[in-house]
């Protein structure tokens, strides 16, 4: 079960990285960049609580 969650999370992280890169190219949208920063930090924290290490 945990392995499945970790695999899905790794996929989600790949998607999130792609979103972050695209958002970084948007002009004058610091708010969206901060969303990406916060989501990334939460995913990192969630990963730790799965017993894995980012």
């Amino acid at each position: 079960m945990t392995d499945s969650i970790e695999q899905e999370l790794a996929r989600a992280r790949t998607h999130l990285d792609a979103v972050t890169q695209l958002v970084a190219e948007l002009p004058e949208s610091p708010l969206l960049i901060q969303f990406c920063e916060r989501i990334d930090a939460l995913v990192d924290e969630f990963t730790w609580e799965l017993g894995a290490q980012p």
Binding site: T2, E37, R38, A41, L42, D44, E45, W48, E49, G51
Partner: protein
């Protein structure tokens, strides 16, 4: 007792050892690579971070850092702030030697409340329930931490750090708070006020089930009397600015069978070592200094940070256990007439109904001997046992080892303390 996260709490044996070793290596390397303080500190101490491969080599090669070093660095490099800082937290300043600045990144803020959520779930609270927060919101970490811990557990914070004690009691009832976070000295005062107002939680069907104490030591009898009055279980959590919040907490309560309960270390988030003055790990049953290594902090991680707090270790391991209710400052000890006196022992003897609070003044008497004057504030509305002063004096003599003179101050003389009460003043001619 409830579980907060079965995945981490069931970790044991080889899995736990591997997790801890990997986490320690990661933490110390991140500190070297990202934290300006640690780059400076390890350079100053010629530390080879790459030689750390597990907990044993970690303890062998990494020196204990202290508040003085943080402050020294911050004085040498004022204004050194990382680009990715999102909050700045100051330590409370109760040590009197200076206030550390702790920069927080987005990762720190995402992790800020997780330890507290463990504490709330362990105590049986559930998402959607309300928790009253009484500890002030300021530039210290306490305010953001308590909000974040409620958020992490899905609890609804009832913010009661302004207003009168009577208003807080009213909010406790009005919102049906299932939990309350509070210091022992302020709970003591709030209880006296509730009694004065004629409130009887036991009879009125209060929703309160868990009282979370932090910040100060307390006596067993006192904690039992609080449980009895509020009809709720007294819990304890320990954490600090340096640990990014709670890293040890009780599960079944701070009191167990008329003795002190157990604080459980949250081992996958923070390594808690208990060391003797020579820097050697103490054996279970012994007291020592709490030395912490945070595994989730990035802005200013604590890597073998000596807290200056002492605690009794009950069991070591990945999820260590400690004695609840007796955490004190190692540097709080006062030598009076050649005796080692810990203020926490006097707290335990004095703070009982109807005493609201006290101040202690150590001074040199006219005959040159050292004396302690205890000034008590008594609840004016309470029925005072005529033997109260004699009982307190006898308890102090028996448990602390010296006699102290006791007087009573008019009600309202002492300010309410909501966070880390300061009770002792040393006015001796020779210190």
């Amino acid at each position: 007792m409830t579980t907060a996260n079965a995945l981490t709490e069931s970790m044991s044996g080889l899995t736990a050892t591997r997790f801890r070793d990997t986490a320690l290596v990661r933490a110390v390397r991140l500190a070297r690579d990202e934290s300006p303080f640690h780059r400076w500190f390890y350079g100053d101490h010629a530390v080879d971070v790459d030689s750390v491969v597990d907990q044993r080599s970690f303890a062998l090669h990494i020196p204990v850092a202290r508040k003085a070093e943080y402050l020294r660095y911050q004085k040498l490099h004022p204004g050194t702030v990382r680009d990715d800082v999102r909050q700045l937290h100051l330590t409370s300043g109760t040590s009197g030697v200076g206030r550390e600045v702790h920069p927080r990144t987005a990762h720190d803020l995402a992790a800020l409340g997780t330890g507290g959520a463990y504490q709330y779930f362990w105590a049986g609270l559930a998402a959607g329930e309300k928790i009253m927060l009484t500890i002030p919101y300021s530039q210290t970490m306490a305010g953001p931490y308590f909000q974040a811990s409620a958020l992490a557990a899905g609890l609804v914070p009832t913010n009661a750090f302004t207003g009168s004690t009577a208003e807080r009691i009213d909010m406790l009832q009005r919102f049906g708070c299932a939990g309350m976070s509070i210091t022992p000295s302020y709970l003591h005062r709030m209880t006296a006020e509730a009694k004065r107002l004629g409130i009887e939680p036991k009879r009125s069907g209060s929703a309160l089930r868990a009282i979370f104490l932090s910040g100060e030591p307390y006596g067993i009898e006192w904690a039992e009397s609080m449980q009895e009055f509020w009809s709720a279980t007294v819990h304890e959590g320990w954490g600090a600015t340096q640990t990014l919040g709670v890293v040890m907490a009780t599960k079944t309560g701070a009191i167990e069978e008329h003795g002190r309960g157990v604080l459980h270390g949250i081992g996958h988030r923070c390594l808690i070592e208990v060391l003797n003055p020579d820097g050697v790990a103490v054996a279970p049953g012994e007291r020592g200094e709490i030395v912490v290594t945070t595994l989730r902090t990035r802005g200013l991680p604590s890597i073998r940070f000596g807290m200056g707090d002492s605690i009794r270790l009950l069991r070591d391991g990945f999820f260590p256990e400690f004695e609840a209710g007796s955490i004190g400052r190692i540097d709080d000890m006062i030598k009076i007439r050649g005796m080692n006196i810990w203020p926490s022992a006097v707290d335990a003897a004095v703070l009982r109904v109807p005493v609201l609070d006290y101040r202690a003044i150590v001074h040199t008497a006219d005959n040159g001997s050292e004396s302690v004057d205890l000034q008590l504030e008594i609840d004016a509305a309470a029925d005072v046992d005529p033997n109260l002063m004699a009982d307190i004096a006898e308890t102090i003599k028996r448990t602390v080892g010296i006699s102290m003179s006791i007087s009573v101050l008019p009600t309202g003389t002492l300010d309410e303390q909501h966070f880390k009460s300061r009770r002792w003043t040393d006015r001796r001619a020779v210190r």
